[in-house]
């Protein structure tokens, strides 16, 4: 049994001119201790998927179909109070900007101790001890002293470490990390990635790593889901997706990344841009930009299907029985 199962998730934003379909039929699982990378360009729906799982969708957005199950228990229909207990205790979250995740008016110690005591039955002193341990574990030097500092006294990388410590407070089973390294410099990014990997190994925590950076995914994730226009285009083990992408979008995306030591005159170019939610084309949403498009792609929408060993892609070219154009 998978730790997290998302089945046919659908998120809509009702507007005056009708409902916008932001996530359509998204299904995936995360196993115990696994790092699932979710990659895509802005507007693909990756952050929305994360927000839907922890029940933090911005209204008027709401889940209109599908199920989210954590440890075989549905969590998408829980009350606000019940969900509050799950957040933090079962699912931790790390966001892009560490400054907005921390309260600037409280010392980081106070924020850590408060979070620990909400979820665990500990005295103030015990909670403080745990907070210091956690800070040490995420690599904050002289944690006993730094615990009384305010967020503004830390650098960006150190703040992100504090946010990771906060997410780990109650030993959650799953951490949703939404662009955890995007705001950081490259050398700090490497430190944070190494830290996340180490903590997952030690605590056997599963991670849903949402990012636009294929490099971060390649280094960190076990499996990767590539999203495009609110749907999953391809899922597979990270090595396979990076080396042998199947879906034409993934192929284009990998070719578009400039790489050191890779001498090309021009990068692969996917012309056009991702469609807006109001103008998602009929059939496969990638069809106007796809180099391999054929008649069926313009008519019918493909589901994720078997596309070779270890590969699932939502693309009609892998439909063996079906007609091709």
């Amino acid at each position: 049994m998978a730790l997290l199962e998302v089945e046919n998730l659908r998120v809509e934003f009702p507007t005056r001119r009708g409902s916008l379909l932001a996530l359509d039929d998204v299904s995936f699982q995360i196993e115990e201790g696994e790092v699932l990378g979710v990659v895509g360009e802005s507007g693909a729906g990756k952050s929305l998927t994360g927000a839907a799982i922890i029940g933090l969708l911005e209204p008027p957005g709401r889940v209109t179909a599908g199920e989210i199950k954590l440890e075989d228990r549905r969590i998408d229909n829980l009350s606000y109070e019940e969900m509050r207990k799950i957040r933090g205790e079962k699912i931790g979250a790390i966001f892009q900007d560490p400054l907005t995740s921390l309260n600037p008016l409280y010392t980081i110690g106070r924020q850590l101790i408060e979070t620990i005591r909400v979820h665990m039955d500990l005295t103030q002193e015990e909670a403080k001890g745990r907070a210091i341990d956690l800070l040490g574990e995420v690599g904050i030097p002289a944690a006993e002293r730094r615990i009384d500092s305010y967020p503004h006294e830390f650098s960006g990388g150190m703040r992100q470490r504090v946010v990771i410590a906060l997410a780990l407070c109650a030993n959650p089973r799953l951490i949703i990390a939404d662009e955890p390294t995007t705001a950081l410099d490259v050398s700090i990014q490497a430190q944070i990635i190494a830290l996340i990997k180490k903590l997952c190994r030690e605590h056997k925590t599963a991670v849903m790593l949402i990012t636009h950076d294929m490099g971060v995914i390649a280094e960190t994730a076990d499996r990767v889901a590539v999203m495009y226009a609110g749907r999953i285009a391809e899922v597979g083990p990270v090595r396979r997706v990076v080396k042998q992408p199947k879906h034409p979008y993934t192929v284009g995306l990998m070719g578009a990344i400039p790489m050191v030591g890779h001498d090309v005159e021009r990068l692969t170019q996917i012309d056009g841009a991702m469609p807006r939610l109001t103008e998602i084309p009929r059939g496969c949403s990638f069809n106007p930009r796809c180099p391999k498009v054929f008649a069926r792609c313009r008519e019918e929408r493909p589901e994720l299907m078997h596309a070779g060993r270890n590969a699932e892609a939502a693309c009609w070219q892998f439909d063996k029985e079906g007609r091709r154009g």
């Binding site: 280094e219 995306l253 070719g255 790489m259 030591g261 890779h262 170019q269």
Partner: protein, 354 residues
Amino acid sequence: MAERSMSKLSSEPLLEVTDLAKHFDVSKPWLARKIEGAQKQILKAVDGLEFKINQGQTFSLVGESGCGKSTVAKLVVGLHKPSRGVIKFEGRNVADAHSRADSAALRRRWQMIFQDPYASLNPRWRVRDIIAEPIRVFGLVKSRDEQIDKVGALLTQVGLSPVDGEKYPHEFSGGQRQRISIARALSSNPEFLVCDEPTSALDVSVQAQILNLMKDLQKEFGLTYLFISHNLAVVYHLSDKIGVMYLGRLCEVAAAKDLFTRPQHPYTRLLLETIPDLEMTGRERVPVAGEVPNPINPPPGCAFHPRCPFANDRCRSEAPTPTERSGHIVACHAAEEGRLPDATFQAPKQPVAS
């Protein structure tokens, strides 16, 4: 636009910068300083930079945030006045262009592309007016019809259509806006473009479109680029020569391929170590401890010494001067004394077998 053809491709430097420095006074107001008995605080954003850019080539500056790379861009186009040093354009000191006509003639020949395409276009202007502004300011066309034709041609050149000129910036996506910025920069027929992180705000597929466009334009018009970026892979893809900056100084300048295969300066090696491994070799990145120190109060001696595994007493007290060693210009005592182990960086190869 025939006047800026490929014919002038030569090896003479188009831009030459010597001992360039920019210091900002970040002290508290005078009275507060007197009351607290505090000293003046000077932020040395750029301190003693030297580089040359040859005609038709791309020179890139890389470094982490706060290293002063954007300040260099602003100094070069004249948005900041240098505290010290000389900027020469075609062998002529830019500071000598005193008269309005003189400096306008120079300024027409270089343009800048900014990072944020949402902030760099006036939201109340139509795109055609945005692109036509440099044409009008420098008086490059005689009639209104000619101006309309030229704007249409520029829009086509950057991959948009002439009718897009009627629209406002908000009607475009980030990538399209960056195309508009490029069209505006090209409208005064410049020879030299300063690009400050032009693709950092864009998605990878859009970034590829813009980088391809920049390469195409360079070939077509023989443009010279000063390219500022924190992304090493982008820099590798685009540059002929690369300068690595750390806390306002250049650590290493070398030809692009060479810098990546035989990095000399320990900081360059650190940066190369942080490139994510898309080759899936299973190489574990060795994260380097420490962060960039506060530039108001940089460490004495070599600014990199607190993070450097090869630092000794000399590094802690004496700032290194850039010296040339086997084609690289390196500012490092350890490299000079031959204390550095040889490092050949294994460049990953093409990962996609499509």
